[in-house]
Amino acid sequence: MHEWALAEAITVALLKQSELRGSKSIKRLVVGLGELQAIDREIFEFALSEVLKLYGLEVREYALLSEEAEFECGACGHSWKLRELELSDEVREAIHFLPEAAYSYVKCPRCGSRDFSVVRGRGVSIVGVEY
């Protein structure tokens, strides 16, 4: 599962801050899961709890926050959402591993431009940490 590597990235970032603070205990962690990357919530949750244990980090409470993916065209200004697109399973899998691969398969539905931004909901991120 590639979710393990994403959970490890989050943990390594937390660990670095914890070392600076001199404590491996975190009160609350909020992780964002962008819709574009289509992370399996259960797998990620399992991976995160295992990796946190492995690195000796204590997180007393954590939440996974889903974020809807939204795009905006740089040419005509049109905004659209991921759920409006019809993508094959093969394409969805490619985007799951590399969200920027969306640029290989998606164009602005209004003007056809490839020059668009992922405004939100790209992938995994640390939304907030409370100590």
Binding site: H2, A5, L98, E100, A101
Partner: protein, 249 residues
């Protein structure tokens, strides 16, 4: 807390920590043969018994898979606590093309950086002695990601004797100063007059000459043929010898 802006950055170091040497083939001018020299070096090092990884750093326009003759329908990375690249002709090979599938992928700079960080932070290189990075031309996001987030690497500057390529290489040599291992002067036909300027700029850096070899074009996509070309023999005798010495020290 600025560090939390991108957790992938720390993970990049984690993925590379067991790789003994990171060897970058860079050249700021397009068409000088970076991919060919990267691929040949990888194949030939592997034939000498080293465990070699090859990563195509060209997010928008990767071509090392073409040189290696990779069939994208059947060759894919596997998932195992991240992504483990497939083995191609003895080389552990990773490329963004496994996800972009040879489709045009025009990206603005911030997305190039993001894509590189994503791949570098999820790709595992178990047991690799040397990771070869095939850089795209130019001095833009890929180069800055390399300098800022990979940090521990040695560089081979690839150029041709063309005055345009040499002028461009001199600029890049300044950026790579202190990490430059050698200059690979590719597609040499007669006297490599243009290289003199580069030699003056980087004294003490070895310059390896690889001849122009028309057989190379006919061997693209066939690694077994490619390693038998005259160009490959010279890469083996000079560049691969140099890298093998580094790995044995």
């Amino acid at each position: 807390m600025k560090y939390f802006e991108d957790p992938r950055v720390g993970a990049i170091q984690l993925r590379l920590k067991d790789v003994r040497e990171v060897l970058v083939f860079a050249g700021s001018k397009g068409g000088v043969g970076k991919t060919l020299i990267s691929v040949l070096t990888s194949l030939l090092l592997s034939r000498r018994g080293f465990r070699v990884g090859l990563f195509d750093m060209d997010i928008t326009n990767p071509t090392s898979h073409v040189t290696l003759g990779v069939d994208l329908r059947s060759v894919k990375p596997t998932e195992e606590k991240g992504v483990v690249p497939p083995e191609v002709s003895g080389v552990t090979f990773m490329s963004p093309v496994f996800y972009t599938l040879d489709r045009p992928t025009p990206l603005r700079g911030e997305y190039v950086s993001s894509a590189l960080r994503e791949l570098l932070s999820i790709t595992r290189w178990p047991g690799i002695d040397v990771l070869v990075l095939d850089m795209p031309p130019g001095m833009s996001d890929e180069l800055l990601e390399l300098l800022t987030h990979i940090r521990r690497f040695r560089a081979m500057l690839v150029t041709t004797p063309s005055p345009m390529a040499v002028a461009s290489s001199i600029r890049l040599a300044e950026v790579l100063s202190g990490r430059l291992e050698a200059v690979v002067l590719n597609m040499v036909t007669e006297s490599a007059f243009g290289a003199e300027k580069l030699l003056n700029y980087a004294p003490g850096i070895p310059v390896y000459e690889v001849p122009y070899d028309s057989d190379v074009e006919y061997s693209i996509g066939y690694p077994e043929k490619l390693v038998l070309t005259r160009a490959a023999r010279e890469v083996d005798r000079q560049v691969v010898d140099h890298v093998a010495r580094l790995l044995r020290t």
